[in-house]
Amino acid sequence: MTHGTLQPPFFIALATMASWAFFFLFGHMRDLVRKRLPKAARKGYAPIRQDYEDFYTRRMFYRIHDCWNRPICSAPDAWVDVMERTPVDGQKPLKLTGATRRCLNLGSYNYLGFAAADEYCTPRVLATMRELGWSMCSSRIDAGTTPVHLELESLVAEFVGKQAALTFGMGFATNSIVIPAIVGRGCLILSDALNHASIVAGARGSGAKVKVFAHNDADHLEAVLRASIAEGQLRTRRPWRKVLVVVEGIYSMEGEIVDLAAIVAVAKKYKAYLYLDEAHSIGALGTGGRGVCEACGVDPADIDVMMGTFTKSFGSCGGYIAADRGVIDYLRRVAPGHHYATSMAPPAAQQIVSALRLIRGEDGSDRGARKIAALHANSNWFRRRLVEIGCNVLGDWNSPVMPVMLFQPGKIAAASRLCWERGVALVVVGFPATPLMTARARVCISAAHTREDLEHALQVLDEVSELALLKYHPRKALHLNGAEHLVKG
């Protein structure tokens, strides 16, 4: 169930448009002056950055660029040491002042709390590193396959409930490499409107026709699918070679969980293949951390290609593809990431192996199960409290990702800076990562947060919301009573 909305109230919408209009107006006026200034252009070369591509960066981003790229000098755990920088000064890079500030971390994707050294994982990671080093300096098909890689792949396949799995050194590249390997010209990709940039890059790289369906809307998916199959390919009208539906488990900028059962039903009915990106949901959803299939009660056999990343719940790097053995064998032969990329660092692979074993209770304790339970409890508690203080919060129960809507561009900097002054590391996102009108802050909850941490965070957010006028839904709290017992898993 979703309580927030992406729609700003009427006057906020007007104010948002007015702020953007104001920015554009003054930006262009300043550009008029800038155009007259003599430029050190190289003769015969077009400028490397075109004015229109660069406009947003020069005229908007640089005014508030202290809100992003804040460097840290500790593990991205529940609390993090953030390095202070000099204030914004035109378009100059920000300099480190040397001071650091200990902040409560609401930004990192540390869902299960594996970001920092761990009593079970770290010794194993170090042992692997002493044995295999940190890089094999070779691709997987040459001399980059170690026993740890093989162990990782069989564990992942078992964990998500598929016959086989293949891993790559980066989640983004897993999508951008594998999608072109399974669909190409004459195929159709049906992509959720809010899919991640890596899926967009993969779809674009594949040469297949890409159509977008309304976010998380199985009915619209069905309508587009029916029409597309009936019409066939553009111009030639030949039937499509195959159709791939691509969805995510948890949408990272919305915190919403995919309506998996409905989408599986549609994909099955129309013989489309289903590609599920579990970057944020693997480890985080389901009582066993097995992701959105477990949470929604869907059989993994109904998902043709399961993708996920190790950067979030497992505190490592890389991504996986899990599918039937035939598909994985095919990808081993075809996927360029398997042929050409340096294989995943063995210590990073070991971190995932250890985290997976811990989650499955193979360390002989219930620490893994407790982590998952804590993540769900923390997330639901925090979400509920955020709604109660009147914020417009997107997303579903159990999802550790909670976007808090800001709408107006001016509030991006306000929310970020006010939190920073109070020692809370908050992520804010605006155009171009979101549409112009729907800037938001994003809270990521971790199993590593204690209840005191969350209470402190809430107190700060309450204060900041008051100051920055973020309480768009002051009375929503009333509708929430008793909703929590609906939560599964």
Binding site: R49, S135, T146, G315, A341
Partner: protein, 532 residues
């Protein structure tokens, strides 16, 4: 005003008279009388059209004339809508499918399987399982063997000092960074590595990516779009092809390492530009320092001269040349005598000589800064695990330290020796010429003329297997992804490092010769074998 009108009237009358004169040959009327008649006619016409006249546009429209105009418009609109041959309307009326028909079409449609079935002959051999650090000698499938595969050119993978630093990093920072650079995923070691890399490359700034295969495919689309032009060597490896494709720029290829062909392409583009005038677009020449699929060097000095002449920006992928070529190990650009600022964009993998994982791009601040907001693989992916940044820092320290000249010299010596030894093996040829002897990557192809690539691959694989089983030397057949547009003859690829001793290199070459001698005649591949 009145005078002007009078004057014009008189002129017109005179002109008309003159015309009549010419037409009638001046025979019909006496000149004076003729003039008067014409003048009268002209005045009558002017009367109607003059300001205030019945047919002057203003008067006409103000006195119900607008009805005439509107009627004409209406008639045109009616004609266009009712016209029986208006094509799109009639088609649409025939076309709409009933729900039942759509159901049937969906029912009938059969997709292809998710993956193409693989013929057994195309399956890859199981890769060796390595259970030691990637040194000159490794444990492969449980046995200690000589490693001629890993691209650990400086031999620093597993270095004990760096090991301790990496271990300390893991204890302090954990393994993953748990976020993209923008969202608290920038760690102090990343900043230090970027600063050191820039210093080493002699550029203003540098930017690191978490994966080598995401580096160039993020860099090129950040700077080129559909209006721009990329001129590529046809032998560039997959990441560059992918980057070109993702950028949607127009891509032209020139023959591998053929400077004359490059100039031909540049001239063609210039000729086209003269024909069709367009606003100046961004143009790039993209090459590799050492080509992965050939093991040869790009003639960078000549390419640089052309780039300057035709005003292109030069992008060099130094993945295999960084830490290998040049007096400081800065790569093929340095090797060819190019100073740091002369090549606009340099990108490289950190997975080879730097013995880490990931990639980076170095250039002026403008180039690097733009990627921090537009490099897709930078903005939308978690940053490099800090321990790998520490590892790359360790290698850079070696490259800038007192050991460096010795390491680079040993690597060069080994590369030359390996190339020489392999060139003398009968039945096979070494790709590359005299200019390439500094390259530590050697591709060995069957000398037989064009044959069945699959059969040749099988022969080479048999040789590789034999070398491992009989001589304990780990080699590899160069495999291309079917998505790669490059098509090269199958080859055995050998990589030599600074950590190999002279004896190692000789052992490897002897093992290759041995294995080939045993495998080649046993197969139908027509190779003339000489006793060795």
């Amino acid at each position: 005003m009145g005078e002007v009108v009078e004057l014009a009237r008189a002129r017109w009358a005179a002109a008309c008279a003159g015309t009549r004169d010419v037409i009638s040959g001046g025979a019909a009327l006496a000149p004076g009388r003729r003039g008067a008649v014409l003048l009268q006619a002209a005045e009558d016409v002017y009367e109607i059209f003059k300001p205030g006249g019945r047919l002057h546009p203003t008067y006409f429209l103000e006195h119900e004339g607008h009805l005439v105009v509107e009627a004409v418009f209406l008639a045109v609109i009616a004609y266009l809508t009712l016209h029986p041959r208006a094509p799109h309307r009639s088609r649409k009326q025939e076309m709409p499918l009933s729900e039942q028909e759509i159901d049937d079409l969906c029912e009938e449609w059969q997709p292809e399987p998710l993956h193409k079935p693989l013929p057994n002959s195309q399956a890859l051999p199981e890769p060796p399982v390595i259970s030691s650090a990637a040194g000159a000698w490794v444990v492969a499938n449980g046995r200690r063997v000589l490693n001629m595969v890993s691209l650990n050119f400086l031999g620093v993978a597993g270095d004990p000092v760096v090991m301790e630093e990496c271990a300390a990093t893991v204890v302090k920072y954990g393994v993953g960074s748990c976020g993209p650079r923008g969202f608290y995923g920038t760690i102090d070691v990343h900043l230090e590595l970027e600063a050191r890399l820039a210093e080493f490359m002699g550029t203003e700034e540098s930017i690191i990516y978490a994966y080598d295969l995401a580096t160039i495919p993020s860099v090129l689309p950040a700077f080129a779009n559909a209006k721009d032009l990329i001129v590529c060597d046809e032998g560039v490896s997959y990441p560059i092809q992918n980057g070109c494709h993702l950028s949607r720029a127009k891509v032209r290829y020139f023959k591998h390492n053929d400077v004359a062909d490059l100039e031909r392409v540049l001239l063609e583009v210039a000729a086209q530009d003269r024909r069709v005038r367009k606003p100046l677009n961004r143009r790039f020449i993209v090459v590799e320092g050492i080509y992965a699929q050939y093991g040869d060097l790009a003639p960078l000095a000549a390419i640089h001269a052309l780039k300057c002449k035709y005003r292109y920006r030069l992008v060099v992928d130094e993945s295999l040349a960084l830490g290998v070529l040049g007096a400081h190990g800065r790569g093929a650009c340095e090797h060819s005598g190019l100073a740091p600022g002369q090549v606009e964009i340099v990108a490289a993998s950190m997975g080879n000589a730097l013995a880490s994982v990931g990639g980076f791009c170095a250039g002026e601040r403008e180039i690097v800064d733009h990627q921090r907001l537009s490099g897709l693989g930078y903005c939308y992916s978690a940053s490099l695990p800090p321990l790998l940044a520490t590892a790359a820092l360790g290698t850079l320290r070696t490259l800038q330290g007192a050991q460096a000249p010795k390491l680079l010299a040993a690597l060069q010596r080994n590369a030359r020796l390996l190339r020489d030894l392999l060139a003398n093996i009968p039945g096979v040829s070494v790709w590359g010429g005299d200019a390439d002897e500094a390259s530590p990557i050697v591709h060995l192809q069957l000398a037989a003329a064009e044959g069945d690539a699959q059969a040749a691959e099988a022969v080479l694989q048999a040789a590789v297997d034999a070398a491992l089983a009989d001589s304990g030397v780990l080699l590899v057949v160069n495999r291309l992804s079917p998505l790669d547009r490059v098509r090269v003859k199958p080859s055995i690829r050998l990589a030599v490092t600074a950590a190999h001793s002279e004896a190692d290199v000789r052992t490897a070459a002897a093992a290759v010769a041995d294995a080939l001698a045993r495998v080649v005649p046993a197969t139908p591949c027509p190779v003339s074998k000489q006793p060795s």
